[in-house]
Symmetry: C2
């Protein structure tokens, strides 16, 4: 399969790569992502305190002995609400320091691959580095299979047919707005469930879509869980969980 090698291509010095690593199954890495993970000078990734890092875990089969890596640890995740000023301050300082660290590596001529779960430009933390570094270094963004594609695939739920409208909603919206949005769309994906899961379930129910909705946890990963939302009794959705409501558009 050296043809894959030829297609994937390598890394250029002093370049920042935002590498989408897909939904979880390492088979869903793109050729470009895999080629870069094997060839950049430094593999960089985000991680929560005390955890291996979700994106880093996905690419583990491609990390070879001696590979240079750089771990960036979030100072805070869910301990402080996003709207609290302390959250903003803490995260903003973290991003500024991280951008300075990456900027120094790039200025020294290193190629750096920053891993991003799913697709880097779809709710990705990578975006916060991209906006800080895009004017001072060469940047290449490698799109990835989104987590939602992985989840609707594993739910056996083609998401949009014909002229269906798809709405992607964060579970953080208030219940009334969620209900209204779900009622007004053909297909929906609700992300960022966390402690919002039961609220989202109520909104899906009131919007009349409970019978169609699937709950997916860690879709495409070894321990994935796929079940009708109506059977989901979990109080809280973990980080990699979402709700999939497939469209009912034109079947030919």
């Amino acid at each position: 399969m050296s043809v894959l090698n030829d297609i994937a291509g390598g890394a250029m010095p002093g370049t920042l790569y935002g590498i989408g690593v897909g939904p979880g199954d390492p088979r869903y890495l793109t050729l470009r992502a895999a080629g870069l993970i094997l060839s950049v000078d430094v593999v960089a990734y985000f991680a929560k305190s005390g955890r291996p890092g979700n994106a880093r875990t996905i690419v583990a089969p491609l990390i070879q002995p001696g590979r240079e890596e750089k771990r960036f640890e979030y100072p805070v995740t869910e301990e402080i609400p996003v709207k609290d000023a302390r959250y903003g301050h803490s995260i903003t300082s973290f991003y500024a320091e991280m951008a300075a660290d990456l900027g120094a590596m790039l200025a020294a001529g290193k190629s750096v691959g920053l891993l991003s779960e799913g697709d880097p430009f779809f709710y990705g933390s990578f975006m916060h580095m991209w906006r800080r570094l895009k004017n001072e270094a060469a940047v290449e963004v490698v799109p990835g299979v989104t987590g939602m594609s992985g989840c609707w695939t594993r739910s056996q739920a083609p998401i949009t047919w014909g002229d269906d409208i798809l709405t992607v909603l964060p579970g953080t919206l208030d219940e009334e707005r969620l209900t209204q949005r779900i009622r007004a769309t053909d297909a929906a994906v609700v992300m960022k469930l966390g402690r919002n899961l039961q609220k989202v379930k109520r909104a899906v129910t009131v919007a009349g879509r409970l019978a169609d909705a699937m709950y997916v946890e860690r879709g495409t990963m070894a321990d994935e869980k796929v079940l009708p939302l109506s059977e989901c009794e979990t109080g809280r959705g973990p980080y990699f969980s979402m709700i999939i409501i497939p469209g009912q558009g034109r079947r030919l």
Copy 2:
């Protein structure tokens, strides 16, 4: 890079693979997609009359001499409006015959990879085969990078930040509905432009989002075109074109 070979895995006899081939650049094929294209007994694909087939063109670098292929040619595409009964009848017969052909290959123990642009379960023609064959053969769906991910990446437009809502709209909706939907969302992607392009541009303008909107044609392909929608004078968008309106959510 034989590690890629190990990760990608091979094909099983009598199995239908719905293979997402990504947005256009062959580097954005997944390892699983590439591995299957190299190992299935038959590579099958849709094509318009007299054309090489979009998905087939994307995977050309992986098609080796002597590879068994099966081309399925749409009897009709845009000559008859979708709402015309003749369109429905013609496409339905085509899909039924195609399913019978594929079913016969599968029953004979062949592994068949049916190519799908982007992600198979996101507006993919593959879905029409999936629903006909899923109860008579083993089926594996391989999610892909969507065309829209490819387009927002190449527009340098991170699509969703923080708690942004994303709405994916077909350009076939009427102007008022389009305007309303674009006004009510944070981020939007408008697909299926075709002869609807000027109508969509008016809707984006009336919704107050013209200044943010990008027009992308053949995103990630060798001849891609990316420009602000305000500068797009084209009367008609080709098959691979869409409008990207990025969200303006939380920057940290």
